[in-house]
């Protein structure tokens, strides 16, 4: 999974205020279309495949954005750790970002599913 550079992250951070998660939460369930995507600003999100740990994602990584925009089912369950800070990227926000940065490199990250 690719990681956004600090400059690329800043483009999103300029538009979306990061939010804290206070409790460990399953934010996306395996097989569902994500309600929103996430950019990890601080902390960790774990991915599980059939209830088994698959991968831990960290700062700069996007989760669920490609699936959200393409209506694809997410292949993992994503569990956010307490204290993790994320930018919540909903459809409206992503459309706004795509409109504003049509030629920017950031848009390529919105196309692909979480590999």
């Amino acid at each position: 999974m690719e990681r956004l550079s600090p400059d690329e992250m800043n483009i999103i951070l300029d538009h979306v205020q990061p939010r804290d998660y206070g409790t460990m939460t399953e934010v996306i369930y395996e097989g569902q279309i994500p309600n929103v995507g996430y950019l990890i600003v601080d902390g960790t999100i774990d991915l599980y495949k059939r209830k088994k740990p698959f991968k831990a994602l960290g700062v700069g990584q996007l989760i669920g954005v490609g699936e959200l925009m393409n209506n694809h089912n997410f292949r993992y369950t994503a569990v956010i750790h307490p204290g993790t800070k994320v930018c919540i990227l909903d459809r409206s926000t992503i459309f706004e970002l795509l409109d504003e940065f049509r030629d920017d490199e950031v848009k390529k990250y919105f196309e692909h599913d979480c590999a």
Binding site: T23, I33, H72, R91, E96, L98
Partner: protein, 250 residues
């Protein structure tokens, strides 16, 4: 260049899952806050929403987490619970088809003060906050329906508080059964079948008592002939008697 076509992708994805991908085909059509929108506006909502099924026990949102949108229940039942400082969980309400969840946090910008968990398998649509706010500003019917919803929620909360102070546990149990009859009752001959399966713990949590107490009073109501039970399904056999028992008049 990105070429998103949400309509097509929503349709193909939903067909795979056999879900009511368009609002016009929603099983709870006529009961939701978007039902007065025109055909085109409703199509726009259909294209923007995210449609999912939640299995029993899965959470839609969790107390203490940031809100980012509103959930519309297409079918199924969802319990909304609050955990107190003592760690005890209280069910504050049961939401079902046509209800919306998460709307209050949208307007206050506070973190969720409750957790929403599927009681049975549910079909739920999600709309993000920015989109809802756009609809609220551009569609008066959505605003009015949301205000009406908030008003009803407030009324129900006030009634619940007064019920806790003015009624004893028996009356609260009878009242709960009558409320479930209104929301989930299906008439079968002279009686009503409650089309929702709540555990004894869940029912006890709603009326603010211990499971043992609830079980005792359920037995009393059965002995009096007000209710009966077949397997896990509860039937209201004597609505009038239950109304008198609950000390209320509808």
């Amino acid at each position: 260049m990105l070429h998103y076509s949400p309509m097509e992708t929503t349709m193909s994805s939903a067909k795979k899952q056999d879900l009511p991908y368009k609002c016009e085909n929603c099983p709870s059509r006529g009961e939701g806050i978007f039902c007065e929108l025109s055909h085109n506006d409703l199509d726009d909502v259909s294209n923007h929403k995210v449609l999912n099924t939640y299995k029993k026990g899965q959470t839609l949102f969790v107390q203490g987490n940031p809100p980012y949108g509103m959930y519309c229940i297409s079918n199924g039942n969802i319990k909304v619970t609050q955990v107190g400082e003592d760690g005890k969980e209280a069910i504050v309400r049961i939401a079902s088809a046509g209800d919306v969840l998460g709307h209050r946090s949208l307007f206050t910008d506070q973190y969720y003060n409750a957790t929403a968990t599927a009681i049975d398998d549910c079909t739920v649509c999600f709309l993000d906050k920015k989109y809802i706010m756009k609809l609220v500003q551009s569609q008066p019917s959505v605003s009015v329906n949301l205000i009406s919803k908030l008003g009803r929620d407030l009324g129900a909360a006030e009634h619940r508080i007064s019920s806790f102070y003015q009624k004893n546990v028996r009356e609260r149990l009878a009242e709960l059964l009558l409320l479930l009859k209104e929301s989930h009752g299906h008439k079968e001959g002279e009686r009503y079948k409650l089309e929702i399966k709540l555990t004894r713990e869940e029912m006890a949590s709603i009326i603010g008592t211990a499971s043992e107490t609830l079980i005792r009073f359920m037995s009393e109501l059965k002995q009096e002939g007000f209710i009966s039970q077949e397997g896990k399904t509860i039937y209201i056999d004597d609505e009038k008697g239950l109304l008198d028992f609950a000390n209320i008049s509808y």
